[in-house]
């Protein structure tokens, strides 16, 4: 066992844990001493503490990175849980296939994607990744293995999809891909000047466009509140099926001692970004990588937030109350101590999510990045919690580092059904926090 500073993407909270490498899907889960709890760890792209296990052990599953089978006729791929979405896409795109759901980064493992039941810009048509998982194998600490699918071991499937790694190790998964005719995305960019306009564009876009998302200028207040840029796109129906050369990441080798994300810089960025997209408004063809994963260009942009790290606040609220809640949160965020940076807005579809703890549900979801400014920020976010909870909404565990047990229980009423399926040798910092338990 070795002790290494594994961190989550927000780099807050910090946790100290030992790690053990899991490299072979045929091996048992490493056994833990009595009181020690372990947690499967993928690529550490969740923001808060669902991937951390302070004082315990992380089972580093990146070594489970083998493909098992790829049916090029039917578009079915089976691979180990530690394979990155990046590697799946690079393999399947040239054959005319695409992942049915992708998040905002391709540097996540398929196991992590399932454990957080991730969604993408096509949620309104495709649902979550869990909807496209044909089956997976769940390895438990008692060495039992279960092949889970929507039809067999369905209770384990429901507990493991979105189950935050708590039910065991996903040793492999089989995914139904979707056919594409080209690797480009035909993308349209539209500026909007208010939340009302956003909802209008979203409504008219959802039937004709597979991918929709909006960026909001979170520093805009008053008359400009809710201004932003709407992106909508479809897979190109013609053209080449190419992958880009091996991605060269620009890595921030170290954490800058000062915070680069400051209010004037964010304001400048937002203005330039709005101007750029205002100028280039219209229809363009772009490769899938810059369309889906624009931030991946900078390998560790999270470090720009300095040593204190960052928090992302992502919530969903039912459509009826969305205008009010989103407006109020944007207004409070813009005036807050911590300048909100990247802020995105998306309308979820009506498809019910496959997991007990899945986050997506009908309504509007918004994600706001904040530099960590300690207590004042925590108080601000708690005031957001009250708005979200009273509107019947929920926070996204994959992004969370601080919600209270009450907020969690309000947002995930079936959480108690999880308890039966949580592996007795597994726990996480997040799980202990939201269930208020010591193990």
């Amino acid at each position: 066992m070795r002790r290494r500073a594994y961190e989550s993407w927000g780099r807050f909270p910090r946790a100290m844990q030992k790690s053990m490498a899991v490299r072979w899907r045929g091996d048992d889960m490493p056994s833990m001493p009595d009181e020690t709890r372990a947690l499967p760890f993928g690529n550490g792209r969740s923001y808060g503490d669902v991937c951390l296990n302070d004082g315990g052990v992380l089972l580093d599953c990146r070594g489970l990175d083998r493909f098992i089978n790829f049916d090029r006729e039917k578009g079915i791929i089976r691979c180990e849980g530690g394979v990155l979405l990046l590697d799946i896409l690079r393999l399947v795109v040239p054959d005319g296939w695409f992942l049915p759901v992708v998040p905002g980064t391709q540097w996540v493992t398929i196991g992590g994607a399932i454990a957080n039941d991730i969604h993408g810009k096509n949620h309104h048509v495709a649902g979550t990744i869990g909807h496209h998982i044909r089956s997976f194998e769940l390895l438990r600490s008692d060495s039992t293995r279960r092949i889970c699918s929507p039809s067999s071991n369905a209770d384990w499937f429901r507990a493991t999809v979105g189950g935050l790694g708590l039910t065991g190790i996903i040793t492999w998964a089989e995914i139904q891909l979707k056919p594409i005719s080209g690797s480009d995305i035909v993308c349209e960019t539209i500026r909007f000047h208010s939340l009302d306009q956003f909802f209008e564009i979203a409504r008219e876009s959802d039937t004709a466009f597979e991918y929709t998302v909006a960026w909001i200028d979170a520093l805009a207040t008053g008359r400009k509140l809710g201004r932003g840029v709407f992106f909508r796109g479809n897979h190109a129906t013609t053209g080449s099926k190419r992958v880009l050369p091996e991605p060269e990441k620009i890595d921030l080798g170290c954490v800058p001692p000062i915070r680069m994300v400051t209010r004037p810089l964010v304001r400048l960025f937002n203005t330039l970004y709005a101007m750029k997209n205002g100028v280039s408004a219209g229809r363009v063809n772009t490769h899938y990588v810059p369309f889906f994963f624009p931030l991946d260009v900078v390998g560790s942009w999270n470090r720009l937030y300095g040593t204190q790290g960052m928090l992302q606040y992502q919530f969903v609220v039912p459509s009826e109350s969305a205008l009010n809640v989103v407006g109020e949160i944007l207004d409070r965020a813009a005036r807050s101590v911590a300048p909100p940076f990247l802020t995105v807005l998306k309308v979820f579809g009506d498809r019910s999510s496959p997991g007990l703890l899945s986050f997506p549900r009908p309504g509007i979801t918004m994600a706001i990045d904040f530099p960590n400014r300690g207590q004042p920020l925590m108080e601000l976010l708690e005031s957001f919690d009250a708005l979200v909870t009273s509107a019947g909404g929920a926070l996204y565990p994959a992004k969370d580092a601080r919600m209270s047990p009450e907020t969690f229980r309000a947002g995930f009423p079936s959480w108690e059904d999880m308890l039966r399926c949580v592996d007795p040798s597994i726990s996480s910092s997040f799980w202990r926090r939201v269930t208020g338990s010591s193990t």
Binding site: R2, R66, F67, F70
Partner: protein, 245 residues
């Protein structure tokens, strides 16, 4: 499309290197100790684009089986263009200092078995008149140090033997490639504290693949180890023996 025989296929460096050959469309014959693990690597390499992939289970210290395994591989591959030997273990030097039996076993795994395999493979290539014989040695073999003496001695033996083979075979157009990785973050070194000199198996694999394809004589991977080891080698012994290395 090359035909490649790989010993130590389940080692992190060798597996990562095999993926690069698979992406080239090459055919591979994998040799290792665990059937289950070899199976999962073979499946992976097929998906990644390898031509034919087959495997055989062999403990490298099972000397009687060396020749048979090579025959099985060349029959399965329909010949052989490249052989890569990469199996090995890292003994605990502290234990080895007081346990001559551990020393003997370690040399069998890391030196004797490798050199015997090289002997068979050199003769095979000599007969066919072409090919590349690559072996994964280590920078640890470049100079004896108190902290890693046994492992270093085994690696020194293979580097030395490979050097001699290179002299014997180069006239025939057969290449002998000695790969000398520095610190690599693999299961073998899981208990070490990692610093800035450490490389990933994928990075080491990239250099290893390139060295084999281009037929380099000796490849330090990553490249900067060549210069580090140059310095290490020229330090006079009367000073070197006092250094805490």
């Amino acid at each position: 499309m090359k035909r490649i025989l790989v010993f130590g296929a389940t080692s992190a460096i060798v597996e990562a290197t095999a993926r690069l050959f698979a992406a080239d469309g090459d055919s591979l014959f994998l040799v290792g100790r665990s059937k289950l693990r070899l199976e999962s690597i073979a499946e992976d390499l097929r998906v990644r684009g390898a031509g034919k992939v087959a495997f055989a289970v062999l403990d490298a210290t099972d000397f009687e089986m060396h020749e048979e395994t090579i025959i099985e591989a060349t029959t399965s591959l329909g010949g052989m263009d490249v052989a890569l030997i990469g199996h090995g273990t890292l003994p605990d030097q502290q234990l080895a200092n007081t346990d001559p039996d551990l020393v003997r076993r370690c040399l069998e795994v890391n030196a004797t078995s490798t050199i015997c395999l090289m002997t068979h493979l050199a003769n095979y290539f000599e007969k066919t008149g072409a090919g590349t014989l690559a072996v994964i040695s280590s920078v640890a073999g470049d100079r004896g140090r108190a902290s890693n003496n046994l492992y270093g001695s085994a690696k020194a033996a293979i580097s030395h033997y490979a050097q001699g083979l290179r002299c014997r075979l180069s006239r025939l157009g057969i290449r002998v490639v000695t790969i000398k990785p520095g610190f690599v973050d693999t299961p073998m070194t899981a208990h070490f504290k990692k610093g800035f000199l450490w490389a990933t198996p994928a990075a080491v694999a990239k250099s290893t693949h390139r060295a084999i394809v281009t037929g380099r004589d000796i490849a330090y991977v990553p490249w900067f180890w060549r210069w580090i080891m140059l310095v290490i080698r020229i330090i006079p012994e009367r000073i070197f023996k006092r250094l805490p290395l």
